[in-house]
């Protein structure tokens, strides 16, 4: 239980009219105008937007194994600074999170960190090799209670393995989150296959390599009556396939990353590997299709795919560089820029796509709840009026591989509360 109670003054819940929020013993106790103080610490939230604590379904915390890039502690600090109260730790660690032992280790490290809740994701196959199912049931039954399974970083490309995984996890309400990348079509791939890759002489990662897997997977999910989640959708064609699958009533959900909502492959012309990511940055037409799909609900959620890498893995030749970008601390600002300031979404929809829906897909308890009386006080206060250049030196993540360095982005997380405990106040970790 939290030791301090808070009275948040004049916060605009989901962008609505200013109200006071009383947080008592980790729970939202009262919401109303000009509440009387009762010994709480008062937080002046004039002009700030109150959202439910954000939930990231796709986070690389790198521990165990690559603590030089990120630890559970540093990653959850970054999450808290970005307004997240829960993150889902991807399985591509060293060792891979493909056993109950590893997922419990990550789960325990998350509990010890205390900055946000960490829900481990389990690997679908042993060692992410795509050949043999990992002990999915053991991970589900472990203390970590894994429900989301993914070989993210690699695609479960074998149709039979994918089919079996989709079927098998039904026994415990699980979901397979697929990294859709046909491996043969993307051997040595360096960037989106298009006009820019042709000019730059970099091996292309064609849209069809993503779309063909998604098409197969939605058909498989329909055939066996399972739930499918598609990670980091990046092309206009993928949107069309997911839209079609949903029109059939199939149980398919999809995510998009902040960077795919804002950046295009034109940036690769710099050969600066900070723009190297998988799936790769696509074209302007793809970005616009993704935004539209997120707004109309075809794409269910935003997930960061926060992927920290040490400097030496980025300050090198493009083809030698690692793929991925950090994203926890800029996600909400990028979503504001791409979706809210463009008039495509309001703050209630942001809360839906970045908190309620990801929590629902995962089934993580106590998160993604509405900002209303009786709910756990997982809250973020956000200053949408703020404008400023992104300064990676102020990040809490151990890595600095952000594509937004020096870019003017709107908005700033002012405070994050996890079950009533302030983890961030005045934009700084508590």
């Amino acid at each position: 239980m939290s030791t301090t109670n808070y009275l948040i003054r004049n916060a605009r819940i989901l962008g609505g009219e200013p109200q006071d929020i009383r947080v008592t013993d980790g729970v939202i106790a009262e919401i109303g105008a000009e509440l009387a103080a009762d010994g709480e610490q008062e937080i002046a939230a004039d002009g700030l937007i109150a959202l439910p604590g954000l939930v990231d379904l796709h986070t690389h915390l790198r521990e165990p194994g690559r603590e030089d890039a990120e630890t559970v502690l540093s990653g959850t600090k970054a999450a808290a600074k970005g307004g997240f109260t829960a993150v889902h730790a991807m399985a591509n660690t060293f060792p891979v999170a493909d056993t109950a032992g590893v997922v419990e280790q990550v789960w325990r490290l998350g509990r010890e960190s205390g900055y946000c809740d960490v829900q481990p994701i389990g690997a679908v196959t042993v060692g992410l090799e795509g050949k043999q199912l990992a002990e999915l049931g053991a991970m589900a039954d472990s203390a970590a209670q894994v429900r989301v399974f993914s070989d993210d970083g690699k695609c479960v490309d074998d149709a039979v393995i994918m089919r079996r995984a989709l079927e098998y996890v039904k026994a415990f309400g699980g979901v397979v989150a697929q990294h859709a990348q046909e491996p043969r079509l993307t051997e040595g791939a360096q960037m989106n296959e298009g006009v820019v890759s042709g000019e730059l002489g970099l091996a292309g990662w064609p849209a069809v390599a993503e779309e063909s897997i998604i098409a197969r997977d939605v058909l498989l999910a329909a055939h066996v009556g399972s739930r499918l989640h598609v990670c980091h959708l990046s092309t206009a064609g993928s949107v069309e396939i997911v839209r079609w699958a949903k029109s059939k009533g199939w149980d398919v959900t999809a995510e998009v990353t902040p960077h795919h909502l804002l950046l295009t492959d034109e940036l690769v012309r710099s050969y600066d590997a900070v723009y190297k990511v998988n799936p790769p940055l696509r074209t302007e037409a793809d970005v616009l299709a993704l935004r539209e799909a997120l707004a109309d609900g075809t794409i269910d959620i935003v997930a960061t795919d926060h992927a920290p890498h040490p400097a030496e893995d980025k300050q090198c030749e493009w083809s030698a560089a690692a793929m991925g970008m950090v994203g926890l601390e800029t996600a909400l600002s990028v979503v504001q820029s791409a979706m809210v300031d463009t008039g495509l979404m309001d703050w209630a929809e942001v809360a839906e796509r970045m908190s309620a829906k990801p929590a629902a897909i995962s089934g993580i308890p106590g998160h993604g709840r509405p900002v209303s009386v009786g709910e756990p006080a997982n809250l973020v206060l956000f200053d949408a009026q703020y404008r400023g250049a992104v300064n990676p030196d102020a990040f809490a993540t151990r890595s600095r591989n952000t594509p937004y360095r020096g870019m003017d982005l709107p908005g700033r997380v002012v405070a994050t509360f996890l079950r009533g405990d302030a983890k961030v106040l005045d934009g700084e970790l508590v």
Binding site: V196, L200, G201, G204, Y271, D272, E317, S319
Partner: protein
Amino acid sequence: MKRHLISTADLTREDALLILDTTEQMAQVSARSVKKLPTLRGRTVVNLFFEDSTRTRTSFEVAEKRLSADVINFSAKGSSVSKGESLKDTALTLQAMGADAVVIRHSASGAPKLLADSDWLHGSVVNAGDGTHEHPTQALLDAFTMRRHLNPGVGHDLAGRRVTIVGDVLHSRVARSNVHLLHTLGAEVTLVAPPTLMPFGVETWPCQTSYDLDAALTKADAVMMLRVQRERMNAAFFPTQREYTRRYGLDARRLALMPEHALVMHPGPMVRGMEIESTIADSDRAVIVEQVANGVSVRMAVLYLLLGGSEPAITTSSANTSEETGK
């Protein structure tokens, strides 16, 4: 001139003509019995080769020595890609040693631009071929060779001349550099390749494309054959070497389709019997050896313009350079 030569797309028409005209001057030096200018005396040029290329490295080395530069050959085979020293650390080392120019060949597209844009070293960067991206000095020597035959004269460009480039365009840095430069110089370029070896988005390039070599030969002023690596057929780019040669190789029958004056060019190394019949490579229509000779002159001109800059390359007395400066 700019400080670096990374891509022929960065060259204006004036830049390109200045290089070609300066190359003419350098070619005069190469024709002398004493083939040496004092222009880059005391300047250090590093040949940083992450990829084997005896031909290109030797050409640069000869050019540098003819300009009296101090030459360092830094063979860095086994780059960061294969766990050696990183490009960054290599660059910092060269900077600490006082390199005035770095000539870089790298298997990774973009490595020269990365060096030029970084603050790791401050000297000029010359791209000597990067991955499947560009090879600007090759394109310059090709253009120089074409100009000498097709439109000779200082200040002349290649307006209206038709150049057909044939072969593995997808993996060719030579093709990319040539398309940009020849377009800048007013030539009309046609790329010919099987569809599998055409780059994605080639329709946006400033050139024509064709899958039909015979048709593209009849009006060509120059035909440039690109090397085709046999390994490509393992990745299903084409079925067999024989089929490739039949459809896209330059043989006697195809040579007869070309106008009398048309040049046969090849950037080397050739795969005789694959993209070009041996007798044609050795025929008097081929200017392949001339291309190699011009390569030295072009590289002298590029290094001179990047490093020497404002002084004329050749003065009346070649030993007396410093007094008659200025443009």
